[in-house]
Symmetry: C2
Subunit: 265 residues, 2 copies
DNA sequence: CGACTAGTTGAGGCCAGTCAATGTTGGTGG
DNA sequence: CCACCAACATTGACTGGCCTCAACTAGTCG
């Protein structure tokens, strides 16, 4: 069963006064000295995609200082649950997560698939509680960025403010695209859109855009696309047969992206 | 046919130097003096729901000063189109608008229905272009809030910054709910959810929550809900027959909200 | 008054869902 | 290392909900 991740301090927290309680959520709060966090934004491979893009060296240092801690998640671990109090955004260092919302009757729907370099948690800002839950799909590591600190820093650092606005807006645009997909596309169009979208995001990250490994089960993909797992499975088979892709379990190879693109339009 | 609205200055713009070109989009830019805008935030009935909530009197004045102009829209007028350059958010004074996104093949999907007191335009922040179009569903009036000014003011006015973040996040949460609806609900559940959502929003605005007039056609409602207009029409008839609602064209009266709520879950 | 748009209602078809059986994969412990 | 098990995936047969097509009505505006 999935359990809540207990953030692992990279270095044992010292017992002296420099130890700082970063958050108020007792169950999640690690006692950890900020000075002891080893990895820094300056050396982070993801900084090009993260909040501090376009910051000067000095600004970067200030931003770096507010990173509360890094959290390691194992597969199926929960980063935050729906209804849980919000205090931080999370930058994904590596790995991937899904975000899910629950209907009142218990049905759940995957509404997001997030990979390294992306920032999640925006849904908690408006009423200090998360609407969705975030669950790791594999071994994953995230940086916790306390939101009050970000907001504070954004006031004196226009570039950071702009980045924050951009990220919030990008999330919104992404959501709009998903709505378009769910509202007006057929099953095959949805899957093709999904496969091409993944290809694009892997390409942006310097990975192969034609060959990748899915991190979600057929059921999770189906949930994200508003389809049943059997439908997803059948579509994979059909695309494979038609020579558009090669599928072997979760390994996917796009063979004819032009044809896939044609399906989406 | 829908045509782009030409914002009507409330007072003829003077020809002197105080005339200020508020925007660069030539076709949309009204030449209007900021000093001549009559209505102020202080006297606006919508200020409780708008960006300046919780601002002090002095802060409110500063915010008020940045409101570039008010725009009057007739039914079917376009406030902004997809692809158009972004420069302002819009606060809806009265009336309502739909937001629509277009797929590459020309299909369009309604992704939002916005009423007085709401702020739209957030989708343009990330790459300075709007992703969706906003179209008036009736005679409507909006305040244009230049985004650079808002951002600037937010840096020195934490309450405004917080409001801005909240609004962006609320939009995100709303989008998540729509995704849940489109991805995992049946036709009847979707319509019931829609009707109850409208009831709630009218209630928040001090209107009747059990009796209201729809501003959208069956086709637009269907597009928003991912259904065809015939399906929407049939569902209205069914709900009516079952005594859940009373429908007469676009006038709706909710008779059994408990039963409607039950349908959604 | 005619033309047009919006809405209703019916008949029939198809796409995706449901139910069910079987195959495959990956992790765990003997 | 292999056997076992559970989770994941595939495939087939059938069903049903929503879409499509179509005819008709009601209301609106020039």
């Amino acid at each position: 069963m999935a359990h809540v991740a207990t953030p692992v301090p990279l270095v044992p927290a010292p017992a002296d006064a420099s130890a700082l309680r970063v958050t108020d959520a007792a169950s999640l709060a690690p006692v950890i000295s900020i000075r002891d966090v080893k990895k820094r934004c300056q050396t982070c491979g993801m900084r090009e995609l993260c909040l501090p893009i376009a910051l000067t060296g000095d600004e970067m240092k200030q931003f770096d200082a507010l990173v509360a801690h890094r959290t390691k998640l194992k597969k199926a671990d929960t980063l935050y649950r729906a209804g849980e109090s919000f205090h931080a955004l999370y930058a994904i260092q590596f790995g991937s997560l899904k975000t899910v919302v629950l209907a009142e009757d218990g049905r759940e729907q995957v509404i997001g698939y997030h990979m390294l370099g992306e920032i999640i948690g925006f849904d908690g800002i408006d009423n200090d509680r998360h609407h969705a839950a975030a669950i790791a799909l594999e071994d994953t590591e995230v940086c916790a960025l306390p939101f009050v600190s970000i907001a504070q820093l954004a006031r004196i650092m226009p570039a950071l403010q702009q980045n924050l606005h951009h990220m919030l807006s990008t999330e919104h645009s992404r959501a709009q695209s998903v709505m378009l997909m769910l509202g007006s596309m057929h099953a095959a169009e949805r899957l093709a859109t999904f496969l091409l979208n993944l290809a694009d995001r892997y390409r942006q990250r310097g990975y192969s855009s034609t060959e990748y490994v899915l991190r979600m089960t057929r059921e999770e993909i189906g949930s994200y696309l508003g389809l049943k797992l059997e439908t997803v499975s059948r579509l994979f088979a059909r695309f494979h047969q038609e020579g558009l892709i090669h599928v072997q379990g979760r390994s996917v190879k796009l063979l004819d992206t032009a044809a896939l693109k044609k399906i989406t339009a």
